[in-house]
Amino acid sequence: MALMSAHRLSTTSGCGVPADVPRLGYVRGRRSDAPGVWTLDIEMADDAPCDFAPGQFNMLTAFGVGEAAISISGAPGGERLIHTIRDVGPVSHALANLAPGDPIGVRGPFGVGWPMATPGSDVLIIAGGLGLAPLRPSIYDILARRDAFGAVTLLYGSRRPEDIVFHAEVEAWRREKKINIELTVDHAGVDWRGHVGVVTGLLPRVQLDPSRAIALLCGPEVMMRFVGAALTEQGLDATKIFVSMERNMKCAIGHCGHCQLGPTFICRDGPVFTYERMRPLMSVKEL
């Protein structure tokens, strides 16, 4: 009975694909960027543009296993999609272990990214651990039009020196001297010559001009809370501090309910928010 009275809506493939259906891509490259951290280079099968804004994310599908929200870590305007994945759960394990030539499903890009249209601003980028991955597109964007910004500083904290993602690239940025870079680790070995301690310990080293600075933060929530508090204490307005939030995501379009934090849907209204917006929500345990 149901089928006889059914109306059918045909769905199209390619760019007209519904938001809840992945597009096909192929892994073209895979390299290790830290222990347990892998970067995939993905080519879309449909040749549709891979445009995205720094700070946005895609939903990546390992066929037959599942889907996970993964931020885009490559340069905007590139031919390929670059994603950096930590191998922690069943889905991220399957994604991180895809080999060149393997198919992969891609939905996106989704969400609101970093505020990159802020000409003349000093930019303070503060990353913890894998939090550097969603910030890397903003660094590429800044380097591509370096004159559009004032002083640019990257403060980056990792657990151990070997956990520094994109380490060689970070060292190359440091040598270029286009941006100031300070690294710190929680646990140093004998051959580490940099800072030791949490990333907030680097803040006194930054000449912060609250009238012209913005800050982009990504890392563990506790780190963003402490850095946000420290920066506001130094006079930076909470609306000039941006944080990238993480929650469980299933649909990425504000329909499944999983990623809610207070009134926000992290997938749709974020993942990048002002610290002003997140401060009261981050301060309530288990919200």
Partner: protein, 372 residues
């Protein structure tokens, strides 16, 4: 609104036959397993004539009604979202071919359906899910297709249930819009009539095929009086004069969350019976050879541990935090997200809670006002 018409029980049977003749699924309240649920009916005889429900916190019983009415009861465990926001659907399937994968989006089907017996609170709930699933940048095509092909035939409530509080949520008990037809059942010793309000051209087209007459002023007044009586006999209420959205936002650390957590079983019943709860999750499945895949979407609940899982653990591990998420979303953050409360006052979460937690009582406890 156009003039009210009057039809008889035979007219209602005619209506059912016309809808079925159009190839529609005709879905209405019917008794199964000692509960009134929504399911396909073939004739007026499938309606729960002469049956009524007695409801309260954690309690639902069917008993013989004093009057032999077709709609002399209130809402049961089913909500129309079962037919509009389907409990389980396939989103896509894929097959490995050569080195690649062919991905096929699921066909989007709509059964042309007619829902008979939609209550005012349920019309409000459907309007809310419309906003959630079709009102934003992304439209849930599966929901929209079903919604666009459903006729809504409302019934004004002739009695209020023990868990009902629609009057205090300003969603009922009378249907004021969003329907194709709205019926008011009038049962007297002499007559058994339905006053009909027409709410759409589709509804008018149906009425044009059914024998009816104009309602008298007396009948119109009797229907009004019935709705007023229902309003006055409402089993529960949200406390008046309390700004509930603000109250929730201001009390995220209230000790009541810990107290309610000692009673709440975190069973998710309230979210399953709620006509506005919309959360879903997905499961990816594959065949044994790993060559065919599919993604299935199904209802989910914020009361499960998995719901907030993030590498290494859940965000909301305590029952208190999960109950707080449900209630503050329903009554507070929903307003910011979708422009209205997420609660329509249907009382299902009260009746179907195994331990009888009453959302109106929880609001009173946090507001510090006396129970009525």
């Amino acid at each position: 609104m156009a003039e009210q018409r009057v039809i008889t029980a035979e007219g209602l049977q005619q209506l059912i036959a016309i809808l079925a003749g159009e190839g529609r699924r005709v879905i209405a309240p019917t008794v199964r397993d000692d509960v009134i649920i929504y399911d396909d009916i073939e004739s007026i005889d499938d309606l729960p004539l002469g049956v009524t429900d007695v409801q309260g916190p954690g309690s639902y019983r069917l008993v013989d009604a004093p009057e032999a009415e077709y709609f002399g009861f209130v809402v049961g465990p089913h909500a129309w979202k079962k037919f509009l926001h389907a409990p389980q659907i396939e989103l896509w399937r894929a097959q490995r071919e050569g080195g690649g994968v062919n991905i096929h989006a699921a066909d989007i089907y709509a059964e042309r359906a007619a829902f008979i017996g939609v209550r005012a609170c349920e019309l409000a709930a459907i309007a809310i899910q419309d906003r959630v699933l079709t009102g934003g940048q992304h439209v849930d095509a599966h929901y929209k297709m079903r919604r666009d092909h459903a006729l809504l035939i409302a019934v004004n409530c002739s009695k209020a249930g023990g868990s009902c509080f629609c009057a205090s949520m300003e969603t009922g008990p009378a249907a004021t819009g969003g329907f194709d037809l709205a019926l008011t059942e009038l049962k007297t010793a002499q007559d058994h009539l339905f006053l009909v309000d027409v709410g759409s051209s589709a509804g008018q087209a149906l009425m044009d095929q059914i024998s009816s007459r104009a309602a008298t002023a007396q009948e119109h007044n009797a229907a009004q009086a019935q709705v007023e009586h229902t309003t006055e006999s409402m089993g529960r209420s949200m406390p008046a004069g309390v700004n509930t959205p603000q109250l929730m936002a201001d009390n995220l650390l209230h000790p009541r969350w810990q107290e309610v957590a000692t009673r709440c079983l975190s069973c998710a019943n309230c979210t399953m019976v709620c006509p506005t709860c919309f959360c879903t999750t997905v499961d990816d499945v594959s065949d044994l050879a790993g060559e065919r895949y599919a993604r299935e979407r199904r209802w989910d609940s914020c009361f499960t541990m998995d719901f907030s899982y993030l590498h290494g653990g859940g965000v909301r591990n305590s029952v208190a935090s999960r109950y707080r998420q449900w209630m503050t979303h329903k009554l507070s953050t929903w307003v910011e997200q979708f422009g209205s409360s997420g609660c329509v006052g249907c009382g299902r979460c009260i009746t179907w809670c195994p331990v009888g937690i009453d959302i109106t009582e929880e609001v009173r406890a946090i507001a510090g006002v006396e129970a009525v």
